[in-house]
């Protein structure tokens, strides 16, 4: 490819018009597969799901209504229903998985990039949790944390007392355990993306900085972070978009028992019980909240740092 540039293909004169048509054709072609796929497999298939939010199956058949929406706000106000707790847990999952998780993954990626001893080995290992299905990982995690499992055994031998903490089935610990799990196993895919991004930074930029005697903290914060900002902000935008739909590993851990309900799992649970109209409405409500939120986050992230081209 560089050959072509070096040899220099003779510049053909083209009218602006034909250039425009050609470009339009190119854009159309590039977008066509994606857009057709989207229209067929998303719009056509899911259109009904959005309509469902405004429908209700009654004695007289299907009716159009806003009932599902008012039902949600009503249920939100019922203290015994604990939907406020679900909201709180949802936000906690976001905070731990993203607000804390992303910077940690970045730090991990940075030190992997700095070729710390065994960094290749570490990279494979850190990626392990992402390779296998969550069901398997949760099963392993659960056995580790069983009442008579090794974690309690280790704690017992340290403290000298019998420790029989129910990490998963005691509401004093359950949500904390799940948050820890989300944090502990959440690095993998972020590390892949971050190392990919860091490796794309031109080596000479970092080389110059190093010659100037820039400290590691400054190198990370003032050079690497701005240079991979598009990746960081993209991941943040993506995480914000999934804020309410991401149910976390609740199904595999507790099925929403022991005070671990989340909005995402609540929707899932409703659907499992063959009820579609109500969860469709809940989904739409949170889309209405989430969409401006994502746009704001994206705008804010753009404000913090302008995209750097390199």
């Amino acid at each position: 490819m560089s050959d072509n540039l070096a040899q220099g293909i003779p510049v053909k004169k083209k009218t602006l018009q034909s250039r425009k048509i050609q470009r339009g054709f190119f854009i159309g072609l590039m977008l066509s597969v994606g857009i057709i796929q989207f229209l067929v497999f998303w719009v056509y298939v899911n259109f009904n799901s959005i309509l469902m939010a405004f429908q209700l199956q009654t004695r007289e058949g299907l009716i159009w209504t806003f009932e599902n929406f008012s039902r949600f706000f009503h249920e939100l106000s019922i203290a015994d229903f604990e939907l406020d707790l679900a909201l709180k847990n949802t936000l906690l999952l976001f905070v731990v998985g993203t607000v804390i998780g992303l910077p940690t993954s970045l730090l991990f990626s940075y030190y992997l990039y700095k070729k710390i001893l065994f960094s290749k080995f570490f990279r494979v290992i850190f990626f392990l949790p992402s390779i296998i299905s969550a069901a398997v990982l949760v099963a392993l995690f659960r056995y580790m944390l069983a009442v008579d499992g090794p974690v309690n055994a280790i704690l017992s031998s340290i403290s000298g007392k019998v420790v029989d903490i129910e990490w998963i089935t005691d509401e004093a610990y359950s949500m904390g355990t799940i948050l820890f799990y989300v944090f502990w196993t959440g690095f993998g895919s972020n590390i892949v993306l971050f190392t990919g991004a860091i490796h794309r930074i031109p080596q000479d930029v970092l080389e110059y900085a190093r010659l100037d005697g820039v400290s590691m903290t400054r190198e990370l914060l003032q050079i690497i972070v701005p240079l991979i900002w598009p990746t960081i902000s993209t991941l943040l935008v993506f995480a914000t978009a999934g804020l309410f739909t991401n149910s976390g590993p609740i199904l595999l851990f507790t099925q929403g028992q022991h005070k671990t309900m989340t909005i995402g799992y609540f929707i899932f649970d409703q659907v499992q019980n063959n009820s579609y109209y109500y969860p469709a409405a809940i989904g739409l409500i949170f889309t209405a909240i989430g969409f401006p939120l994502v746009i704001i986050v994206k705008w804010l992230l753009g404000k913090i740092l302008e995209d750097v081209e390199y």
Partner: protein, 531 residues
């Protein structure tokens, strides 16, 4: 760059090779006329009964083509089939299917009333009874649509598949281990149950499993299968409040009209309080690992003798056959009668069953023994009281109403399905099912069938229960308030067993039911809008 390209080419060619062998037409979307296709969910009753039934059917009908697919994914498969009306299967055996929902929303169930109005038939041998009279009467309405849309009413859409009683199961080896051989007796009333629990807990006996000593607890359960407790405390509600009140609770109706008060019959609080007593942590009746256990983990511990009692259905033995080498003498007993019944009988019939609570319970227990021994009266109690206790004693929980066969509306072999189901309900079919699944179809003459060979204590005890007078109760989603309005078996996000049995923040039964009533009241208006 070059290495990358090489790898990429390698991968693509690998993929092409795979695709070459994969390029056959997609899965079938329509059934084949003349080939009966059966899909059966593989669960606790094993994988063989449907195939065995089909084999026997083919002996009688050599010209018939029958395919059986038995695997654990059938349940999900059936959901897709019934929601889309696209399937090649003619008959699904699954557990749990909302007739109302699939009729009203998807129009995907075939009317199989013809089976109910036919006679059981094995080859040329026809029996002298209609199938609808052969199935237990309390199960029959469960197989029909019971919503409010006229076009589906009075039609049958499902048929029971094998499923038996669910109740309390004793590990007699563990009990012998705690008390010495035979030094204990089966609990007949809940007071006796709690006395037994106290005695076991007090003994702090131990059992050695692979070199580790474990304390033997009265109960073990699994946090993964908390609903098993309901096989115990739901009968307590029905025993105390009566079958009618139980059915009113399930449909939340009084005299045919939706009524919140029907949801909490007078026996509910006592039943929940007994549940609370059993699973409250500080009472120490349950093995401490219970909540954390997988269900077959708990069952394994139960067979190891780490607990004396467990609650589940008659599939336990069949289920554990293939998964453990531990053997124990198990015995299913009828659900102990709630001791509160004596007080209720006293006030209802104006009699006295004894001076003290202990005496009253003793009388109740004696009446129960008399009933179990087949007597028709007991010395000191009136016929009225005796019969009331007899009715309560008959109440047994089952899942037989939800373990069903159903036919997709798009099936092209309905005539074959009907013929097959007639065979399934013949005496020969029932015998085959008994042999393979070790359970019964819910038929009125179940006690006439005897499994071949020597029976385990567990099988014998299950037989004994089904031979005696029995009234099945079950939870049901057949009323529109369940399937359309979405009232689950419980209201709110927390299971009763979790709320009462959790380690931190457990609430009392009274608090739970108060919360339940509040929630029902809050949601009532929404429910009523769609009914």
């Amino acid at each position: 760059m070059k290495t990358f390209k090489k790898i990429f080419c390698l991968i693509l060619s690998l993929g092409l090779v795979a695709s070459a062998c994969a390029c056959t037409p997609g899965n079938k979307t329509e059934g084949k006329k003349g080939t009966l296709s059966i899909a059966s969910f593989e669960g606790g009753y094993g994988a063989t009964w449907a195939q065995a039934l089909a084999d026997a059917y083919k002996v009688h009908n050599p010209e018939a083509e029958v395919e059986v697919d038995c695997n654990p994914l059938v349940r999900e498969d059936a959901v897709t089939a019934f929601q889309t009306n696209i399937t090649s299967v003619d008959l699904y055996f699954i557990d749990g299917l909302s007739i109302g929902n699939y009729c009203e929303t998807y129009q995907s169930l075939a009317d199989i009333s013809e089976v109910y109005n036919s006679t059981p038939k094995a080859g040329s041998k026809e029996e002298d009874i209609l199938i609808k009279d052969k199935i237990r009467p309390e199960i029959i309405p469960e197989m029909m649509y019971s919503g409010d849309q006229a076009e589906y009413q009075n039609k049958y859409y499902t048929i029971p598949s094998p499923s038996g009683p669910c109740s309390l199961i004793l590990n007699t080896d563990a009990l012998d281990n705690v008390f010495g051989e035979g030094n204990w007796s089966e609990p007949r009333t809940t007071d006796e149950l709690f006395a037994l629990c106290d005695a076991i807990a007090e003994k702090k006996a131990q059992v050695n499993i692979a070199g580790v000593n474990y304390t033997i607890y009265p109960f073990i359960y699994s946090g993964e299968a908390l609903e098993y407790w309901r096989y115990l405390y739901y009968p307590w509600i029905a025993q105390y409040s009566g079958i009618d009140a139980w059915n009113e609770m399930i449909t939340v109706k009084k005299n045919g009209v939706y009524d919140q008060s029907a949801y909490q019959p007078d026996g509910k609080l006592q039943a929940y309080q007994k549940l609370e007593k059993l699973i409250k942590r500080s009472n120490g009746y349950c093995d401490g690992t219970s909540m954390n256990n997988k269900f077959n983990q708990s069952q394994k511990y139960f067979l190891q003798g780490r607990a004396c009692m467990y609650i589940t259905g008659d599939w336990l033995e069949r289920e554990m056959e293939g998964s453990t080498d531990y053997k124990a003498e198990l015995k299913m007993v009828k659900t102990p009668i709630t001791s509160d019944l004596s007080a209720k009988l006293e006030s209802e019939y104006g009699v006295s069953l004894g001076a003290t609570a202990a005496e009253k319970d003793q009388t109740l227990a004696n009446v129960i023994s008399a009933i179990d021994n087949g007597q028709t009266s007991y010395e000191s109690v009136s016929a009225q009281v005796f019969n009331a206790v007899k009715q309560a004693r008959a109440i047994t929980f089952t899942l037989a109403n939800s373990a069903i066969g159903a036919v997709p509306a798009v099936s092209v072999n309905k005539d074959m399905v009907i013929d097959f189901l007639r065979f399934m309900y013949s005496d020969e079919g029932i015998e085959i099912i008994l042999r393979e699944s070790k359970s019964y179809l819910p038929v009125v003459n179940a006690s006439e069938f005897k499994a071949e060979g020597e029976l385990s204590l567990f099988r014998e005890s299950v037989n004994q229960i089904t031979e005696r007078e029995i009234t099945y109760i079950f939870t049901s989603s057949r009323d529109p308030i369940r399937y359309r309005a979405g009232l689950d078996q419980f209201i709110g996000n927390e299971y009763p067993e979790t709320a009462l049995g959790k380690k931190t923040g457990a609430i009392t039964a009274k608090e739970y039911l108060e919360k339940e009533a509040r929630l029902l009241n809050e949601k009532w208006a929404e429910y009523m809008k769609v009914l």
